[in-house]
Each structure stands twice: as C-alpha cells, then as structure tokens.
Amino acid sequence: MRDVAVLGVGMYRFGMWSDVTNATMAREAGMMALRDAGLSFRDVNASYVGHIFAQVMSGVRVMKEFGLTGIPVQRIENASATGSAAFREACLQVAAGTYDVVMVLGFDKMSAMIQQSTQGTAPENMEDAILPAGFFALWATRRMHERGMKVEHLAKIGAKNFNNGALNPMSQRQADKPVTVEKVLASRMVAWPLTTMMSCPIGDGAACAIVGRADLAKKLRPDRPVVRVVASTLQSEKYAKGHLFVGPVVGPAQMSIDSSKAVYEEAGIGPEDLDLVQVHDAFAIEELEYYELLGLCKPGDAEKCIEQGDFELGGRVAVSTDGGLIARGHPGGPTGLAQIWETTLQLRGEAGKRQVKDARIGMCHMMGGGSVCVIHLLQRD
C-alpha cells in the first residue's frame, strides 16, 4: 500500500447562505484546496463528491464548475459521515495505486432541506416522532442516572466549542464575547437537558480536501510538513442486546470503541499520542461520551476531566478545536471534510489563534445516522 497525504484543503465558511448555490460554495472551497496544494484541476485524476440533501446528479454537475476533463466522478453518501466516507474512499484508492491525486468535495444546503421537509411532508414514518435532539437527550438522561453527570458538564462543552469557534474564521457561529456556562444553560431548551447552545445549528457550506501520493506532497510544497493519513476505518453497527432499530439512531457505543481500536492498531499508536481530536459533537452529550469511547479518558472519568479542562485548547488533548459541529457548523456533506481542513492546518502549524502547540497527530471522528462510524488519523512528518 502507498503512503497517502492530504495535499491541500479548502472551505466555504458554514452559515445560512440562502443566496449562494451549492455550485458556488463547492467551487470556492475546491479552488482554495487546489491552490493550497499547488495543483491545477488538470492534475486531478478522480473525484469523490459528498452531499446528502442535494438532488440526484448534483455531484457530477457541480464538478463541471472546475472544467470538463472527463475524470471519474462518484457520489458518496453516508448521512453526517458523508464527507468522511468520501475522504476514506479517496485514501483507499490512492493507497491502492488507482489514482495519484483525488479531489474530495463535500457541499450541502441543509437550510433548504429543512424548508422542504416542513412544507407538507406526511409523517409516514415512526421515526419522525423522535428528533435527533430527542435521541441524544436520552443519552444525557441515562448518563445523569448512571454517572451523576450534571447539566453544567454539557454546558461547559458547549461553551468550550463556542469559544474555540470564535478563534476560527470559518466557524458558522461567532460569539462576540467569551461564552460562559451560564449563557449556554440559559439558551432555549430543545430536548431536556439539551439547549440550543449544546446543539449544532442548521447551515450551508462546502469543504474540500485534495488527497494524493505522499511523495507528491513534499515535491509540491517543500515549504511545509507533509500531513499523512496514517489510518482509516468505517464500521457499521454490530448487533448486541438492547439494540435500537427505530428512530434517529447512531450507535451502539461499542461501534466508536471498536473503530478507535482499529485506527490505533493500524497506526501503531494509542490515544495518549493524540494532540487534537475532532468528534461528531452534534450535541454536547455526544462529545462527552466520545471522550471515553475513543479512549481519551477512562470510562467514568469524563466529568472529572471536563472540570479539569483536559479537552480545552491548551489542555491535555484539545477536542473540537475549530468549534466542532456545535459552533463551526454541520451542513451535512462537507462536515467531515471540515474536520480534515482543521486537522491539516493544525498539523502544519497554520491554525492561528487556536493553534495546538507542536501538534503532530490528530483524529477525525464522525458518526453517520443509520449508522456508521468513520475515523481517520492524520500525522505530520
């Protein structure tokens, strides 16, 4: 298998962009990634496009924005993990020797999707009764019961991610002054005990990663460290007692445990070697659970570690450094690629005010409803 590197990254800031098309957002993110890589679209051998809500053919149509070079274009969809799954496919193909340079492009307009679904969709599914916020609130109630978690622990995660987002110009939510635990607690209740500031927003946006042979990275940009993809996994659910089949579901918990073990083994490292981690923090309770499931702390220690600030910028291992889904945003297709964007900048030392000192290894973890878990480990030379 050949070594794989992230050659370039680009983003179109996530937000509510009702006047901007998917094609425009995707073109700008893609051109930014090509320039970052030091490449032209002529150099791209193939493309994987990730979108959830856009209609059929959108992927191949949007790719025409870059020019009609005849390359293979393939759409990948895996709910929230769409961008991550597309990235994995590109890594596998470069590692296998199929392609040298692949463009991975994610875009979505979740705001348009929400408008459509509230305009007369018949709730013919049992699933419609339970919103994602409700589903994850059930995790929180159970955690309070089993581990004595307090709502303040969730608020602290929300505040951390808002404050990280304020240091990221690509973040959807930009707080004008530091966000406190009290402010998060006082925001509107969505599904008890989760408030709006413990939950990700709806948004639009695009993100792109150029993936290619690692030896090209050094040649194209000798001025900066090579960021390698050292492990990749995608797993679906394994049946166990108490398995949920109906409702908006990600899990079971074992899936994140198994997936993280797989990438640690592939890269020959452990969770103690990580400098920064991006997770699927659509809701603060998820981030709390993933601290333990990914091995960032021992089972039952998450609350204590939150109190100590272990996962803040400057803490033991920084989590959701760009604001996470809660602040940076979660349009759908591009979300997993925003994690790659952030981790790549961090490992190159280009993350500005939110830079993690001497960052060498980063993890990107996404869950996709249905469900799947996708994890990548990135490491700089």
Binding site: A122, P123, E124, N125, M126, D128, A129, I130, L131, A133, G134, F135, A137, L138, W139, A140, T141, R142, H145, R188, M189, V190, A191, W192, P193, L194, K238, Y239, K241, G242, H243, L244, F245, V246, G247, V249
Partner: protein
C-alpha cells in the same frame, strides 16, 4: 361515535377494536436462537445466528423505562393540542428483550428511570373520518404495577 383508528404506519403495532385494550408491538422471534426484535424482520440480526427461521410475535404492552427526555417542540405531524407544548420520548425495555424508542405520555416530572410503563394509542390527527394513531408509553401508577 368515535372515529375508527388506523396506525400512522402499518406493521409496527396492533390497534385493538376495544379502546380499553392496550396495543402490542408487532415483532419477530428467531426460531433458531430465540432473540426477539422490534420492528419485524425476516432474518435474525445476531452475527452468530443470521437464521431465516423467524416468526411473528406480539410483545408488550408493559415495559421498563431505560431513559427519557421531554422535547420542547410540537410533535411532528400532529394537530393534537396536547402535543403543541412538546412531548416526552423514552427508551423502553420490553420484557421479551427489545429496547424500543417511542413518545411518552405525561410531563417530564412524571418520568423516572426504571419505572413500569404501559403502551397506549395516541391520536396524531384526523384524516377523512379516521383517527391516525401512534403507539406511546404512559407511566403505570405505583398501585397498579403489580397487576
């Protein structure tokens, strides 16, 4: 006379003729390993089993509350005034084994992990002279738990 009741989606739960009779969950029992499932499925999901010998069963109507929340938004697709200020959601363990995730009747303060609940039908809206119903759970009063 009350409207006839029809499920919002067929194949998930029973709609008894007698309004006082609680609904049951339409599930599957694996004839090879004995595992129960909701909703119905043709092939056993256990990786060690994967048997195609499955049979239809009815489960419930009682269960034990594993976790709960109260959603502060109207219930999707409902015109029932009771649902406008929000609704409870629970994960409930059926005695046969499956954990189900459905709305709960009552207010947040009435829910307690470990309590016994009973399934009931709840009307979402009227549709051409029929009541469209979903299945939900309601906490059973302490005095009635032993029954």
């Amino acid at each position: 006379m009350a409207n006839p009741r029809v499920p919002i989606k067929a194949g998930y739960f029973t709609v008894p003729d007698d309004p006082n009779e609680p609904p049951k969950f339409l599930g599957t029992k694996c004839q090879s390993c004995g595992e129960h499932y909701w909703p119905r499925r043709a092939i056993c999901a256990r990786p060690e089993c994967l048997s195609e010998r499955t049979a239809d069963v009815e489960m419930g109507p009682r269960g034990t509350l594993y976790s709960y929340t109260f959603v502060h938004l109207p219930l999707f697709g409902s015109t029932n005034l009771e649902h406008m200020d929000g609704y409870g959601v629970g994960q409930v363990d059926l005695p046969e084994g499956p954990r189900v995730q459905v709305p709960l009747a009552g207010k947040q303060g009435e829910f307690r992990i470990g309590q016994t609940l009973q399934a009931e039908l709840d009307t979402l809206r009227e549709d051409g002279g029929r009541d469209l119903v979903i299945i939900r759970f309601r906490p059973v009063k302490q005095s009635e738990v032993a029954q």
